[in-house]
C-alpha cells in the first residue's frame, strides 16, 4: 500500500527539529533512514500527522574517538558503521553484528540511531549497545541528557525517549584491554530479524572470566541481559562446569516469548545452542 497523508517538515538544524517535536508532540514521528518507519507507514500501521525528516541536519552523522569514548552519531548509516576502521578496531562486536543487520540496500540508507530509537526487540544493535555498556545521548529543546543503554529500551518499539526528544548519538566506552566478544544469531534468511540472537563480551584474566556481559535478543519485548548466567560464568573454575550450570539455568532468566516464528520453548532451546557456540571458542583459554 501507500503511505497515508501527513504534513512533512525538513528542519535544517537541531534547534529547529527540537522546536517541531515540542510543538507536535505525540502527533509527530521522526524520519531518519526510514527503513522501519516507511514500511510501517506503507502498511498503514501508523498514521502520524507530521513527519519530521532529520536527514538535512548537519552534525548528526559520523564516528569519532576522543580519549576512552567512541561516539557514533545517530544519523550514521549502517554501511558507514560496517566500513569504519575505528569500529573494527575498537568495537569488533559491532563490526561482526553489523553483518547480520538487514540487506545491502537497507544498510545503505538505514541509520544507527534510527534503528535504536525504533527498538525492535529482534534487532541486533540494541543488544550490542547493552553488552558494550553504551550511553545514549538524548537531546531536546530543554537540553541534553544521557542514559545507559540498559535503561533506554522499555518494550516492543518502546524507549525512554519522550515525544519531544531526539536520540543524537551513542557513546561507547573503549580502551579497556582484555575484552573479547561473541555474537551469534539464528534467522530464517541472511539479513532477516533474528528469531534468537546473542551479543556477549568477556574480560579474560589469568585464564578466568573476570567480568562479562551476556545479552539475548528476539527472546522478549526488549534485549534481555542474563545476569545470573553472567555471575555463574565469573564464578569459581572449572569454567566448563560453570558454563554447563549457566546453560542449564538460562531459560529461567528468559521470558516466555512466542510468535508466528517460534514458540517460547524453541526460543529457549535456541538460546542455549547459541550460548554454547558463543562460549566454545573461549573454553580452550580458560581453566
Amino acid at each position: 500500500m501507500k503511505a497515508p497523508a501527513f504534513h512533512y517538515e525538513r528542519p535544517s538544524s537541531r534547534a529547529e527539529a527540537f522546536a517541531l517535536l515540542a510543538q507536535h508532540g505525540d502527533e509527530a514521528r521522526v524520519l531518519a533512514g526510514g527503513q522501519s518507519l516507511m514500511p510501517i507507514l506503507n502498511m498503514r500501521l501508523a498514521s502520524p500527522a507530521v513527519l519530521v525528516d532529520i536527514n538535512a541536519i548537519d552534525n548528526l552523522a559520523g564516528i569519532s574517538v576522543a580519549g576512552d569514548v567512541l561516539t557514533v552519531g545517530a544519523m550514521t548509516r549502517h554501511y558507514q558503521v560496517a566500513e569504519s576502521a575505528e569500529i573494527a578496531r575498537h568495537l569488533p562486536l559491532i563490526a561482526e553484528a553489523m553483518r547480520h543487520v538487514a540487506h545491502a540496500a537497507i544498510r545503505n540508507r538505514g541509520t544507527f540511531g534510527g534503528n535504536l530509537a525504533m527498538a525492535d526487540p529482534a534487532s541486533e544493535m540494541p543488544a550490542c549497545c547493552i553488552a558494550l555498556d553504551a550511553v545514549m545521548v538524548i537531546e531536546s529543546a530543554k537540553g541534553p541528557r544521557k542514559l545507559a543503554a540498559e535503561q533506554f529500551f522499555r518494550g516492543i518499539f518502546e524507549t525512554a525517549l519522550e515525544p519531544d526528544e531526539l536520540l543524537v548519538a551513542v557513546e561507547f566506552p573503549i580502551g579497556q584491554p582484555g575484552w573479547r566478544h561473541g555474537f551469534m544469531e539464528f534467522a530464517r534468511r541472511q539479513g532477516d530479524y533474528a528469531i534468537v540472537g546473542s551479543a556477549a563480551r568477556f574480560l579474560v584474566k589469568q585464564r578466568r572470566v573476570a567480568d562479562c556481559r551476556l545479552v539475548f535478543f528476539g527472546v522478549g519485548d526488549r534485549p534481555i541481559r542474563v545476569q545470573a548466567a553472567e555471575r555463574t560464568l565469573c564464578g569459581p573454575p572449572p569454567f566448563a562446569e560453570a558454563a554447563a550450570t549457566a546453560s542449564a539455568a538460562l531459560a529461567a532468566e528468559l521470558p516466555e516469548f512466542a510468535d508466528s516464528l517460534a514458540t517460547a520453548e524453541m526460543r529457549h532451546h535456541l538460546a542455549r545452542v547459541l550460548f554454547g557456540r558463543i562460549i566454545t571458542p573461549f573454553t580452550a583459554d580458560l581453566d
Partner: protein
C-alpha cells in the same frame, strides 16, 4: 488534497524539477511521474528488492524513501545503467545463463549484483548469495542468478 513540495534532482544524469505529493514514494515518482517503469513495485515494505535504485551512488529501496527526500540527489535507475553500458557484461551473463524467467525481480537484482561486482573483491558464491539476500526471485532461479553474477565478476568488470 495532498500536501505538495518542489523537488530538484537528477535522474539518470538529467535534471528534473517539479512538485510532488510529500507522501509519494521515490519508486512511484520514477514510474508514475517520469515513466521510468523499469524499476518495479513489489512488496512496498522493503522485503523484495524489486524497487532497487541507486541514490548518490549506492543502492536503496525505492519504496522506503519519499520522493521529496531525493531533493538534491542523483538517482539512477535500471534504464540509466543499462543505457550507459555500465551493466552490459552482467546483462550478457544473465541472458547466457537464463538467469531470469518472468524478469520482475531482474532490474533490482542487476543493480544489487552490480554494486557487489564494483567492489572489485574476489567473490565466492556465498558472497553473492549474501549480497543478493534482500532480493526475492519468485521464479526461484537463484542458481542461475548466482552463476551469472559469478561469471560477470570473473570477467573483471561489468562492461
Amino acid at each position: 488534497m495532498d500536501e505538495m513540495r518542489h523537488v530538484t534532482l537528477t535522474v539518470n544524469g538529467e535534471p528534473v524539477s517539479r512538485p510532488v505529493p510529500v507522501r509519494l514514494s521515490l519508486v512511484d515518482f520514477l514510474r508514475g511521474d517520469l515513466g521510468l517503469t523499469g524499476t518495479h513495485v513489489g512488496c512496498e515494505h522493503g522485503v523484495c528488492g524489486a524497487c532497487t535504485v541507486r541514490l548518490d551512488g549506492r543502492i536503496v529501496r525505492g519504496c522506503l524513501m519519499l520522493a521529496v527526500q531525493a531533493d538534491g540527489a542523483a538517482v539512477e535507475t535500471i534504464e540509466g545503467v543499462s543505457d550507459s553500458g555500465e551493466i552490459n557484461g552482467l546483462q550478457d551473463e544473465f541472458r547466457n545463463r537464463n538467469a531470469l524467467q518472468c524478469g520482475f525481480c531482474t532490474p533490482g537484482i542487476l543493480l544489487t549484483a552490480n554494486e557487489l561486482i564494483r567492489q572489485g573483491r574476489v567473490l565466492t558464491r556465498e558472497d553473492v548469495r549474501e549480497h543478493l539476500s534482500g532480493n526475492v526471485c519468485r521464479c526461484t532461479g537463484y542458481q542461475a542468478i548466482v552463476d551469472a553474477v559469478m561469471a560477470a565478476a570473473s570477467r573483471g568488470s561489468t562492461p
